[in-house]
Amino acid sequence: MMDELLSGLLRSIADIDDIPTDGAYNIRKDGEGMARRSTETVQITPKSGKPGIDVRVAPFSKADRVHIPVVITKTGVNDLVYNDFYIGEGADVEIVAGCGIHNSGCEASEHDGIHRFFVGKGAHVRYVEKHYGEGDGTGERILNPTTEVHLSEDAVCEMEMVQIKGVDSTLRETTADLEAGAKLVILERLMTHGAQTARSNVEIRLNGAGSTAQIISRSVAKDSSEQVFYPRAVGNAPCHAHVQCDSIIMDDAKIRSIPEIAANHCDAQIIHEAAIGRINNDQLTKLRTLGLTESEAEAVIIEGFLK
């Protein structure tokens, strides 16, 4: 059985509080593999020569679920991993990743996950990644994820990346390239508070005819935190891309959104929408007329916005 701290972290990032009873998993703790299981259709093997794992999902396997959480419970850990995912043709899989840091010391703890996805023809991947930090130490909690996605013909990848609490500094690099008929959906939700900083760079290259991409980013910046978004969509074929960034700004926070859309084909359709603003006053007033205080009303609005 696990200690409270560990299961708490797992709950926050992977909705599990213990070792999963079914499906493949790899749990990494304080820079080392702690528990691992492969199944008939999902093979997880450690890399040789560098930290990290290879995850291979068998072609045409259906509805598998893979948990690969990373937890850091010590101060001063600097963890770098390379995880590669090979998703076989026609497979259907859900991957629950995520990183939780508990830092009660004074040194920085950092996890840099470098994830590469090779998604086979017609395969379907749902990827959920939650980032979470806690602990009363002064040491920073740092997460710098790099994600690289390669989608073959007609592959579908839905990615949900969430960072709601406790991460002091984050730099997220996401790149993707899409072959014909491939579809990518990225839903990014972010909340920063205190003096946190977060930067997210995304580059999507739509190379195949009929490929589509949708990036939805919703963020809330509180206190004196700072956020920068740099989404880029490049259409190299007849394709559709839609980038939507909505941010709520509060207190003394700062948000920058630098969208870039580029078309290198006359049938590339790329749309970008971005908005930064305060919480809508009418919404606040409406909830207050139901008896909520101003801060309760704010919390309800933010919760819905980030849902």
Binding site: L287, R288, T289, L290, I301, E303, G304, F305, L306, K307
Partner: protein
């Protein structure tokens, strides 16, 4: 019981001032159903916002059950039992109809209770419970959900601002029936802002607000014929003929 005593509301600064409401006084007794009517821009919604505490009067007092609530903010007034269904309700990303009704009620509402409130405003409840109150809802749907949130509360004074606006003919009868039940049900007293004769038919009393003032007030039987006949005179409001030059 709600009392307004010489309530005025001005906007603007020292250079440019506008008086939106001027010396409004009235008393609304418990168990009464009040309809406020009058021309567009007359000050009806402003009056509702003042009672709810969204705006502060520049003069006068507002009393609820004898207690001066003039200086209470919106949250405090809501907790005293004042409720206001907006003329133009805001929309919320990510907030479901069910959650909104529960927030209004003050505690988690079971599914069948939510359904009952929605049915009362003519919405087929199963389809709506888990929908978000966002831009995907039509104007009439948002309006009806707004009415349902007020129905989910126990209030001293419930104010509905043009609840019938944007609601189709078929649902309208249903709504009228719901308001009929309401006047004997949860809320001690009801203020309904409306331009509709069929809603005015429900009123114990009718108040005409025009040009920032109470222009007339009386029982339904006394007021309705006057309103239908001589509205123009009461309000100093007369259609002018447009002649082509």
């Amino acid at each position: 019981m709600l009392e307004l005593k010489h309530v005025s509301f001005q906007v603007g600064d020292a250079h440019a001032q506008a008086e939106i409401l001027r010396d409004v006084s009235f008393t609304l007794k418990d168990g009464k159903f009040f309809v406020i009517t009058g021309p567009n821009g007359g000050g009806k919604s402003t009056l509702a916002r003042l009672i709810m505490g969204i705006e502060k009067p520049t003069a006068g007092q507002i009393l609820l059950n004898g207690r001066d609530v003039t200086d209470l903010d919106v949250t405090e007034r809501a907790r005293c039992g004042i409720g206001y269904a907006f003329q133009q309700p805001p929309r919320f990303k990510g907030l479901t109809v069910r959650r909104l009704l529960s927030l209004a009620h003050g505690s988690d509402l079971p599914e069948d209770a939510c359904c009952a409130y929605l049915t009362n405003v003519g919405l087929c409840s199963r389809d709506y419970l888990n929908r978000e109150v966002d831009a995907s809802l039509s104007g009439g749907e948002v309006k009806r959900i707004e009415i349902a949130t007020l129905m989910a509360r126990d209030l001293e004074v419930a104010i509905f601002d043009e609840p019938e606006a944007g609601i189709d003919l078929w649902s309208f009868s249903m709504l009228v029936q719901s308001f009929k039940n309401l006047s004997r049900g949860r809320h001690k007293s009801v203020i309904l802002i409306s331009h509709q004769e069929r809603i005015m038919q429900l009123a114990d009393e009718i108040l005409v607000v025009a040009d920032g003032q109470v222009r007339a007030r009386g029982s339904r039987d006394e007021m309705l014929p006057r309103l239908l006949g001589q509205f123009e005179e009461d309000c100093g409001f007369r259609a002018k003929e447009v002649t082509a030059q």
